[in-house]
Each structure stands twice: as structure tokens, then as C-alpha cells.
Symmetry: C2
Subunit: 203 residues, 2 copies
Amino acid sequence: MEKLNVGILLFDDVEVLDFAGPFEVFSRTRLEAGVESRRSEDTAPFHVFTVARSPETVVATGGLRVTPHCDFAGAPHIDLLVVSGGFGTRRLLDDEPTLEWIRRVAESARKTTSVCTGSLLLARAGLLQGRRATTHWGALDVLRGIDPTITVVRDRRVVVDEIVTSAGVSAGIDMAFAVVEETFGREVAEETARYIDYPRSPI
Amino acid sequence: MEKLNVGILLFDDVEVLDFAGPFEVFSRTRLEAGVESRRSEDTAPFHVFTVARSPETVVATGGLRVTPHCDFAGAPHIDLLVVSGGFGTRRLLDDEPTLEWIRRVAESARKTTSVCTGSLLLARAGLLQGRRATTHWGALDVLRGIDPTITVVRDRRVVVDEIVTSAGVSAGIDMAFAVVEETFGREVAEETARYIDYPRSPI
């Protein structure tokens, strides 16, 4: 079966759960229910991989060491882009190669999403102009400061506009399930949540 | 300040959220509230690292590539052991070096915990004899099969006995918060949950 390519952006000081939550949800989604279907990729509708500006191992928040599957130059076509957050986003706000990559991928992706302060990068790349969006509660004013045309939503875990943004850290799990539900239906999303024992929050 | 060493066990086909959830919670816990305290380790009560049998990069479920901080031989003293789960536990059920390492660490640790099917390894190591414990819903009967003296708890996300076990995948996040709360109090646990925007579930 043809799979949708999910590219998750990594960088130094990326918050662990920001990328690991969506990685878990998308990589464990199956169109066939149950434990057994998770032993193979046969009914997996997503192919999930991590991408970073360079191929070296990334040191995430807390020191977790993750090696990206590909760098910007080597990444395959991305259908679904996940821009993770974390303190590391701050030094990327002026990193033109990263912003340019995000713009380029978002233009051809079927869907662009962010977790936590990943939305600051989307805002800086100009992708949230005139849109509704959210971020970690500690960065709501920063988001508005980057682009005052954004309608900053302060009381939702997930904000679905043309781009899907989510609130802090663990809200990325709910964002991923919202995308699974929109793409493959409520039953697939609920069954995957049950598989990972996750009580979904109202978004 | 003196920190508690948290060692999280990795292996090939470890489930991503099983180790990433507790890693996130323990590594982001601070004794001082707010966003700023998370920019340094000054008020972090835990020092969190990953451990594997050998130092090579581990390929987790879904293909995430994580490089452990140390191997069994090189690991510092562990105060709090987290045994992750995932399909990879099955081939470790007869891996004596792993079981022996778990036994040895658990003996000198202040607390031993597991996420998901990590409890199968604890059972196989003989550490759950006569105790209450849980695991992923798909493995409850396997747990009982490994050691019939275990009282298998089927309706709790976290089971606190001398060893703390948790249900499937995301329940490891609630397990970690339960340990934070027991060790540093309710306020620290609640504030850290708020920092990562996580609505704790009743355990």
C-alpha cells in the first residue's frame, strides 16, 4: 500500500516529547485493528522519519541523543511535515536555511503541523500570516510578537487552520491523533489511541 | 544539588513513547516553578540517561535511532531504574546478561519501575514474585504466564507495589509523574505536568 511520508524536524535542544509523541502516534497507526498488525508495516498508512539540517546526531532537551534519518538535502518528498518545538527553536529563528527548507517543504506538503514552540518557526517562515495558531503557554506572546497578523488561540490544545498547530509538548500527541482522524477516520484514530493506552484530550 | 540518577533501559524494538515519556517527565522536572528554571539543570532533581547492553545505536519501534548514553558496564549507579517495553522485550526474555543486569541494578536502586511490557522482563528476572503488577492490555495473560504468583492488575494505569509497573505505552508518563509526586511532592509533579501541558490521568 502507498504510504504518506511523515517528516519530523529535529535540531539540537528539540524537546523530546515534541517529536517522540507524534513519531509514536504516526508510526503505530494501523488500518487493521489489534496488536498483531503492529508487528509489521503492512497496514501502516504512514512512513515516518526524522529530518535535520545536517546528518549528525542531535542532542535533544535533557541530553537524549537521536540520529536523524536524513538531512535536508537527502529527505524524500514529505506529505506531512511536523515542526517540533523546544528551546532549540530560538536559535533557528534566524537560520535562513532552516526557514527556507520549512517554506519549501510546506509548499508541496499535503499538510504542515507544529508542536509547542515549533509554531514560532512557522511564524518566522511567514506561513502563519493571517491564520489562527497556538504554541506553548509560555510563548503565546512571542508568537504574536513574531507576526501580529496571527490570531493567537490561548485555550485550545490543537488549532486546526490550513496549518495545524498545537499547544505545549504533550499536546503534540493530540495533534497527531487529530490528523490521523481527519485522514483515516475516527475509528482508526481511536483504535490507535487504545493501542498506546492514551486517553485523548478534547482539543 | 545532589541529583537522583535515572537509568532508562533501551534495546532494539523498544517502543518510542515507553522510554521518551519518562525521559521527558524526569528530565523536565524542576524544584523551581516556571519556564526559566527549565533552561538549566540547577534545580533539576534528576539526572536522566539511557542505558543499553551495548553502546551501539538502538533502533526503536518505527525506526527511531537513539544512541544510549552508556552500556551496562559503563553505567553509573542507578537510583531509579525504568525498564521500557515494546516488541523487543520478547527476545530479551531469555537474554541472561540483560536479566542479570536488571536484577543487579534493582537490588541497589532506590526504586525500580517499568512501562508497558517492560514488566515482562521484571517478571522473568524474578522481581515481581508475589507482587501486584500490570502491563500492556495485550500482554496481561503473558505476564501471568511468566510468573503465576503475580497478582495481575487489569484496570489501573499504574500499580504501586515495591516495584512500580504501568500499563501500555503512554501510561509510562503517568507512572513517571506518580514517582515524581511520591519523591518531591504533589506541587512539583503538578507544575511539571503543567509545563509539558499534560493532563494527568487517574492512575
